[in-house]
Symmetry: C2
Subunit: 211 residues, 2 copies
DNA sequence: CGAGGGGTTGAGCCGTTTCAAAAAGAGTGG
DNA sequence: CCACTCTTTTTGAAACGGCTCAACCCCTCG
């Protein structure tokens, strides 16, 4: 979530950062590719990374938007199940999987960090599952906006992703997302300042709509 | 998935079974409850367990159907995010979370088993996510049936769950699930022997439909 | 035999998608 | 700074897939 450096927060040296190198990615750059051999694990240092998966016939589902501190590709076996791409400029800590596994075998704090990170991903994914399975369009859009607002702890949120990205995250079409945003604006719950920035005018109403 | 005892397969003694006790549950019995304090982790020994989550207004989403060997509640923090219930008679290995964490701190094989189990859940959940976000009703139903058939490696599959369970797993209504099953039967892809048992007549067509 | 619970089927409705076009930005070169 | 183009977003109208509501069926059980 929004924890920048979970381990450092407890006064402990972050056990992961020493295991890999930080790489910079520019907007749209591919961090790893679906189907590619999964020999690395990633942690977002700065910026936002989107993970997505393509079906054979071209339908896309976005797994999540990952912010600083989030670990990626924990779930992969032989091959990456997801493509990860930078939304805007990003820095990502890249760790070789073998290095990480070796370290997890020696260092308990590493093993626990991995387990905890996996558990957090699982929890987030469960929420996503309910969104897609049981919520209406307006609920999904309201929920994702509320989530972003909570993450930055502000009423003004910047959207690093396109409407298409939002649609593919929410299991909707771009048109439906656009309509829901317009609807939220019409009912004075939010107000767009630019296409990619909005102000939550009525956070309570937004949470209510998110159900 | 269908791995009965991943560790024993490699000739190693299963590191988890010694850490808890096996309990028996009868049909419909609750293994753990959403919102209840998450002080245990579970592994299905025999039978099928369904995990589900209820929204405040009563909508239900089933997370998964868990078969022998599957670990449950790995994802939970303070409270269980899901309710787990027995579908038919079940045996479940119940392990205290504190015991497990302590053991994971000492025994690398335990820590790795946990990580691997989490990774597997994560992967399975990603598939589920695409189903809910991007697939049509017929594709979802075909996919879950194909999945069951693959699991038991037979063309005759027993459904331990009700139509309502299937609907809540697939993000559909009971009527739609029923219609899709009828449709599959009309097109000779499957054939119901009883309400809860069917024969896959054309496995290839089923996979095709699952997309 | 009657009651009750799951499952199926039908008709009509509604929310989301689809297709199409206009509007608003963003980027480029003069 | 303005014209021009290209892309993204918004809006509109119509079609469609899945949902809702309701009746019916089929078992099981008492």
């Amino acid at each position: 979530m929004s924890i920048r450096n979970p381990s450092a927060a407890g006064g402990v040296i972050d056990p992961l950062s020493a295991l890999g190198e930080v790489r910079a990615y520019r907007d749209g750059a591919e961090v790893c590719s679906q189907g590619g051999s999964a020999d690395c694990v990633y942690r977002v240092v700065s910026g936002v990374v989107r993970t997505s998966r393509l079906t054979e016939d071209g339908r896309r589902q976005i797994g999540d938007f990952h912010f600083a501190g989030d670990l990626l590709a924990l779930d992969d076996g032989e091959q990456h199940a997801f493509t990860a791409e930078a939304l805007g400029a990003c820095e990502v800590l890249v760790i070789r999987r073998r290095t990480l596994e070796a370290q997890a075998g020696q260092d308990i704090t590493v093993a626990q960090a991995l387990w905890r990170a996996s558990a957090e991903r699982l929890r987030k994914m469960q929420g996503h599952l309910i969104q897609l399975g049981r919520k209406t369009a307006i609920e999904r859009v309201a929920a994702v906006l509320a989530q972003f607002a909570e993450q930055v702890e502000r009423d003004v949120i910047d959207l690093p992703m396109s409407r298409q990205d939002l649609a593919d995250y929410l299991g909707l079409t771009i048109e439906t997302v656009s309509r829901m945003i317009s609807q939220l604006q019409a009912s004075k719950v939010i107000r767009l300042t630019t296409l990619r920035q909005m102000r939550i005018c009525d956070p309570q109403a937004l949470r209510q709509l998110a159900a």
